[in-house]
C-alpha cells in the first residue's frame, strides 16, 4: 500500500478546477478503485459514473493523464509510483458535474440511425446465416458504448459546430454492422452514412481505433470499407461511363423493380395532410430499348422525334400535381 498523488477535476458547467488529493493505492488496483476510495474517505459527493467495474458496460469513461480511458481498465501498475495522475471528464461532451458529462449527443445520433429492417419473407426461427457471415457484424456488436471513440474524434472534439452533421465512429460501426448484416433488408446503409451521418468528415486518423477498449478495428474494418464502397458507387469513372452506355437492365441496382412506398411522414404538423404519403406509386418506367437492349440513339428508329425522355416515356408534362407524393407545406 502506498500513498499516491492525484489531480481530479471538480466542477460543473459553470467551471471548475483540478484538485489535489493523496489517496492510498493497493497492489492490483485500477483507477476506479482509487476513485471509490476517494469517495468513501474524502469526497463523498465526487460525481463519477460506473456500473460493472469489469470493462463490460462502458460507463466509467474518463480522461486519465489526458488519454480517454475506462477507469476500471486502467491498472495503477501502469504508472510510476511517484507520478501524479490527473483525472478529467470527457472533453467532447458538456460537463454535468465532476467526471460526469452529458453524453446525450450519442443517443440522439443513434435515434437517427435507421434501425435493422427484418426480411419480410422470413418468420421468427427461419433465419439462417453462416457463422463466417455474422462474424463481420459481430465485431461491431462488441461495442460497449463507452463513447471514448466519439470523445477522441477530432471532428467533434474541439468543433461543436460539426456535431449536427457528424454521427461519429460509434455510429459508423453501427452502419457498417447493419450493412454487413446478412439479412438486413435495407441496402442503402453506405449512402445513409455518407449523406446523413457525415462519413465524409472522417479523414482516417484512426484515433477512434486507438482508444477502443474492445479493440474494434473501427477505421480499418468499418469506416474504410464503407468509404471505399461509397466512393465506388459515386465516383468510379467506369460506373459513371457504364451509366451512360449500358442498358437499363444492366444497371439493375439503380432502378427499383417493384412499387415504391414514399418514406416521408404520414401526417403533417396539423394532422390534416391531404395527401396519403404511404400509398403505393407505380415505379418509373424504363425508357424504351431496341432489340439489343440499348436505348435508341437513332431518331429514325424511335417512335417520337427526340431522344427518349430521361423520366421515362410514359410521363407527360406538365405533371398533374395530384399524382405526386408531395405536399407543399404552405398550401
Amino acid at each position: 500500500m502506498t500513498l499516491r498523488q492525484f489531480k481530479v477535476w471538480r466542477g460543473d458547467a459553470s467551471g471548475g478546477q483540478l484538485n489535489d488529493y493523496k489517496v492510498e493505492v493497493n497492489e492490483g488496483e485500477v483507477v476506479l478503485d482509487v476513485i471509490h476510495r476517494l469517495q468513501a474517505t474524502q469526497e463523498p459527493d465526487l460525481a463519477c459514473r460506473w456500473n460493472c467495474k469489469a470493462g463490460k458496460c462502458g460507463s466509467c469513461s474518463m480522461e486519465i493523464n489526458g488519454m480517454p480511458r475506462l477507469g476500471c481498465m486502467t491498472r495503477m501498475s501502469t504508472f510510476e509510483e511517484d507520478e501524479t495522475i490527473s483525472i478529467t471528464p470527457l472533453r467532447t461532451f458538456p460537463v454535468i458535474r465532476d467526471l460526469v458529462t452529458d453524453v446525450s449527443f450519442n443517443y440522439e445520433k443513434a435515434q437517427e440511425m435507421p434501425a435493422f429492417a427484418p426480411p419480410a419473407d422470413l418468420a421468427p426461427g427461419e433465419y439462417r446465416m453462416q457463422q463466417i457471415d455474422v462474424e463481420r457484424s459481430q465485431e461491431f456488436r462488441k461495442c460497449i458504448e463507452c463513447f471514448l471513440c466519439q470523445n477522441t474524434c477530432h471532428v467533434v472534439r474541439d468543433h461543436d459546430d460539426n456535431k449536427p452533421a457528424f454521427s461519429g465512429p460509434r455510429l459508423f460501426i453501427r452502419a457498417a454492422e447493419l450493412d454487413m448484416h446478412p439479412l438486413d433488408a435495407r441496402h442503402d446503409r453506405k449512402e445513409i452514412a455518407q449523406q446523413s451521418q457525415g462519413l465524409g468528415y472522417c479523414n482516417i486518423t484512426k484515433c477512434c481505433t486507438e482508444v477502443c477498449p474492445e479493440h474494434i478495428k473501427i477505421t480499418d474494418n468499418a469506416i474504410i470499407p464503407m468509404k471505399e464502397r461509397v466512393v465506388d458507387r459515386r465516383y468510379d469513372p467506369l460506373v459513371v461511363f457504364g451509366r451512360k452506355i449500358l442498358r437499363r437492365d444492366q444497371l439493375a441496382a439503380t432502378v427499383p423493380s417493384g412499387p415504391t412506398v414514399h418514406a416521408g411522414p404520414v401526417t403533417v404538423a396539423d394532422g390534416q395532410a391531404p395527401v396519403d404519403f404511404g400509398r403505393e406509386l407505380t415505379p418509373p418506367q424504363p425508357a424504351e430499348t431496341n432489340a439489343s437492349g440499348h436505348v435508341n440513339l437513332n431518331e429514325m428508329l424511335s417512335d417520337r422525334a427526340a431522344a427518349a425522355s430521361p423520366f421515362g416515356d410514359d410521363i407527360t408534362f406538365p405533371i398533374n400535381p395530384n399524382s405526386l407524393n408531395y405536399y407543399h407545406p404552405e398550401r
Binding site: D12, E27, G28, E29, V30, D33, Q39, A40, T41, P44, D45, L46, A47, C48, R49, W50, N51, C52, K53, A54, G55, K56, C57, G58, S59, C72, M73, R75, S77, I96, R97, D98, V100, V103, Y107, A110, Q111, M113, P114, A115, F116, P118, P124, G125, Y127, R128, M129, Q131, V134, Q138, R141, K142, I144, E145, L178, H215, P265, V266, T267, A269
Partner: protein, 627 residues
C-alpha cells in the same frame, strides 16, 4: 417550494435491463404510452454481464431437446422448489423469445446449417444456450435497446417525436411507489423519484408499474453485481404491500475471480468449464470428483478419463463433475479452501491453459481472455485463474402470479431477477436471460391489458408525494450524519461474514441484531453536498432498500432449517423433503419490520409430474406426496 416534474403514462417500467426493456416493448406494442426508468445510462444494465447464453430448448444442436427436458432440468436445478408453472411457461416460451430477437437484429453464433448455435452449460442435459461468444448479455441488451429505438422511429414518423409513446428516462431513480387506496383496495397510482443528473424530483402518474430492477448483490462485498443492485424493486414492492418469497436463496457463482483485487468478484463464465477448464486445489489435485452428490451420481463421470472424453463424445460418456450445478461447485470450492487447500486470497485454481491450445481459448473465450488481460494482466491461455464463490444472483424476489407476472397489488408487476419463484432454490446458468425475456414480455403484456380494464385512473395522493420528498431530502439536511459509504461497507461485512455461502444458526441470529443496529444508524445517514449528481446522497437513499432486503434474507435463512440450492446451513446439511413444501414469505408491517410466514408451495400438476421418474421424485418429495 419544491419543484416536481410531472409525467403521465399508461405503464411505467422501473429498470432498463433485459426484463424491463422487453416489458416496455410489449406494452408499447400493445398501444400503451410507456416510460422506461433507468438508474444508469440507457444500455448499461447489469444484463450485459451475462456471458454464457440464454437457455432455450430449440434443439438446434441436439434434436432430442424439447421444453419438457428443459423443464425437468430447471426443476432439478431449483431442487423442486420452483414455481412449477413459471418453469413450465419459461421452458415452453423461451425459444420463441430468442427467435424474436433475431427479428430485432440480434446476431447469435451459428451452427453449420445456419441456425442459432447452442452450447453446453452446467445443469442442462443438452447443448441449449444460445450465445454470442461470451458476451450474450451485451447482445441481448443492445438488441432490445435498438428495438426500442426502432419503435421510437416509428413513433417519430407517426407522431412527430421519438418519445411520443416510448420514452427512456436515463439516470433516474425511483424512491417510492404511490398508491391509491380510495376505493378500499390498494392500487398503483404512480411512482416518485429523482433525476440523478440534476437532483430534481420527478413524478410519474401511471396506473401500472412493472418492476424490473434486478437483484440485491451490493449488500455483499465480493459480488459480481454492479452498484445498481441495491434491491430497490424488492423494497419498493414490500413498501407497496407485495410479498417476497425465497429470499434465503442467493446464488454464489462458484467461479468469481478472487485475485487480484481489481477483478475481485468478476465472473469467470461457466463455459470455461464447459469448454474444458478444470478446478484444482493448491496441491494440484482435480478435486471435483470427490464432491458429486448422490442425486447426480448417475449423470456425471467418475474418472477424469471419462470426463475428458465427454467434450468430444457426449453421447457415450458422462459429463465431468466441473459441470455440476453452481451451488454444488461453490460448496466444493468452499470446502477445499476451508480444508487449507486454497490459495492465499481464498480461492482455488481454474485451469484451462494447460488443457487447451491458446488459439482455441482465444476463439472460444475472447472477451474473457481480453477482460483478464486488460483488467488484471492475467493471461488465461498461459496461467490458471484464481477463483472462488462470489455473490451473483438472488433466486428470491417478489411473489408473482406465474401467468401474468402480477405482484399481488393491483397494477404492480415484476419480472426478471426481482421476481421470485421461477428458479426455486437455485438457478441454472443461462436460465436468467431466457427468464427475463419470457416474463418481461408477459409483464408488459398484462400490465398493458390491466390498464384497459380501468374505469377511472387511480389518483396520486399529494400527501404520499410530500412524504416521499421529505424522505429524500432528509439526508442532505442532516449535519454530521453517518457516512453512507461506511454504512454500506458495514452492511456488506455483516452479510458477507454472517449470511454468506455457508450459514450457521448463531451467526444468523447475530446478523439480525447487527442489522437492527444498522437500521438505527441508517436512519441517521447524512450526505454532504448538493442535489446535482451526488453519489453520496444517492447511496444514502439506497441504503434503506439494501437493509430491508438483507433483513428478509437473514430472517428467512435462519428459519429454513435445511440445506437446499443456494441456501446452505452447516447445522442442517441435508435437504429435507418437508421443507420442500414450504415457501418462506416476507412482508413488512406498517412500522417497517419484516414479517416472515410459511406458505405451502403450489402442487405440480400430474402431467408435469409424469415427466419425472418416480425414483427421482423420491429424492425430493415426502412419502405422503409420492403416494
Amino acid at each position: 417550494m419544491i419543484n416536481i416534474e410531472k409525467h403521465w403514462y399508461d405503464v411505467v417500467v422501473i429498470g432498463a435491463g433485459g426484463a424491463g426493456l422487453r416489458a416496455a416493448i410489449e406494452a408499447r406494442l400493445a398501444g400503451k404510452k410507456v416510460a422506461i426508468i433507468s438508474k444508469s445510462l440507457f444500455g448499461k444494465a447489469h444484463t450485459v454481464m451475462a456471458e454464457g447464453g440464454a437457455a432455450a430448448a430449440m434443439g438446434n444442436v441436439n434434436p432430442n431437446d424439447n421444453w419438457m427436458v428443459h423443464f425437468r432440468d430447471t426443476m432439478r436445478g431449483g431442487k423442486f422448489l420452483n414455481n412449477y408453472r413459471m418453469a413450465e411457461l419459461h421452458a415452453k416460451e423461451a425459444p420463441e423469445r430468442i427467435w424474436e430477437l433475431e427479428t430485432y437484429g440480434a446476431l447469435f453464433d451459428r451452427t453449420k446449417d445456419g441456425k442459432i448455435s447452442q452450447r453446453n452449460f452446467g445443469g442442462h442435459e443438452y447443448p441449449r444456450l444460445a450465445h454470442v461468444g461470451d458476451r450474450t448479455g451485451l447482445e441481448l441488451i443492445r438488441t432490445l435497446q435498438q428495438k426500442i429505438v426502432s419503435l421510437q422511429q416509428e413513433d417519430k414518423a407517426q407522431h412527430g417525436a421519438y418519445d411520443a409513446r416510448l420514452r427512456v428516462f436515463a439516470e433516474c431513480t425511483i424512491t417510492e411507489l404511490l398508491l391509491d387506496e380510495s376505493t378500499g383496495e390498494k392500487r398503483i397510482a404512480g411512482a416518485f423519484g429523482y433525476h440523478r443528473e440534476s437532483g430534481e424530483f420527478v413524478l410519474f402518474e401511471a396506473p401500472a408499474v412493472v418492476l424490473a430492477t434486478g437483484g440485491v448483490g451490493r449488500s455483499y462485498k465480493v459480488t459480481s453485481n454492479s452498484w445498481e443492485y441495491t434491491g430497490d424493486g424488492h423494497a419498493l414492492a414490500l413498501r407497496a404491500g407485495a410479498k417476497l418469497i425465497n429470499m434465503e436463496f442467493l446464488q454464489f457463482h462458484p467461479t468469481g475471480m478472487v485475485w487480484p483485487p481489481s477483478v475481485r468478484g468478476i465472473l469467470v463464465t461457466e463455459s470455461v468449464r464447459g469448454d474444458g477448464g478444470v478446478l484444482k486445489n493448491t496441491e494440484g489435485k482435480r478435486f471435483m470428483f470427490e464432491y458429486v452428490p448422490d442425486v447426480f451420481r448417475k449423470q456425471y463421470a467418475e474418472t477424469p478419463e471419462e470426463g475428458d472424453r465427454w467434450y468430444t463424445d457426449p453421447d457415450n460418456n458422462r459429463r465431468p463433475p466441473e459441470l455440476l450445478p453452481r451451488d454444488e461447485v461453490a460448496r466444493a470450492i468452499n470446502s477445499e479452501v476451508k480444508a487449507g487447500r486454497g490459495t492465499k486470497a481464498g480461492g482455488v485454481y481454474l485451469d484451462i491453459a494447460s488443457r487447451r491450445p491458446a488459439a482455441e481459448i482465444l476463439k472460444k473465450l475472447p472477451s474473457m481472455y481480453h477482460q483478464f488481460k486488460e483488467l488484471a494482466d492475467v493471461d488465461i491461455t498461459t496461467q490458471p485463474m484464481e477463483v472462488g464463490p462470489t455473490c451473483h444472483y438472488v433466486m428470491g424476489g417478489v411473489e408473482v402470479d406465474p401467468d401474468t407476472a402480477s405482484a399481488g397489488v393491483l397494477g404492480l408487476y415484476a419480472a426478471g431477477e426481482v421476481s421470485g419463484g421461477m428458479h426455486g432454490s437455485n438457478r441454472l446458468g443461462g436460465n436468467s436471460l431466457s427468464d427475463l425475456l419470457v416474463f418481461g414480455k408477459r409483464a408488459g403484456e398484462y400490465a398493458a391489458s390491466y390498464t384497459d380494464t380501468l374505469g377511472k385512473r387511480p389518483k396520486v395522493d399529494d400527501k404520499q408525494v410530500a412524504a416521499a420528498v421529505e424522505e429524500a431530502l432528509t439526508p442532505l439536511a442532516r449535519d454530521g450524519g453517518e457516512n453512507p459509504y461506511t454504512l454500506q461497507s458495514d452492511l456488506q461485512d455483516v452479510m458477507g461474514d454472517l449470511v454468506g455461502i455457508i450459514r450457521r444458526k448463531g451467526e444468523l441470529q447475530e446478523s439480525l441484531s447487527r442489522l437492527s443496529e444498522l437500521r438505527e444508524r441508517i436512519r441517521k445517514v447524512g450526505a454532504s453536498g448538493g442535489r446535482r449528481y451526488n453519489p453520496g446522497w444517492h447511496l444514502a437513499l439506497d441504503l434503506r432498500n439494501m437493509l430491508v432486503v438483507s433483513e428478509c434474507t437473514a430472517k428467512a435463512a435462519l428459519e429454513r432449517e435445511e440445506s437446499r440450492g443456494g441456501h446452505t446451513r452447516e447445522d442442517f446439511p441435508k435437504m429435507d423433503a418437508k421443507w420442500r413444501q414450504v415457501n418462506l414469505v416476507c412482508a413488512i408491517t406498517p412500522t417497517g419490520d419484516v414479517d416472515l410466514t410459511h406458505q405451502p408451495i403450489p402442487t405440480m400438476t400430474p402431467d408435469l409430474l409424469a415427466l419425472f421418474d418416480k425414483s427421482e421424485l423420491a429424492k425430493y418429495m415426502t412419502d405422503q406426496e409420492l403416494s
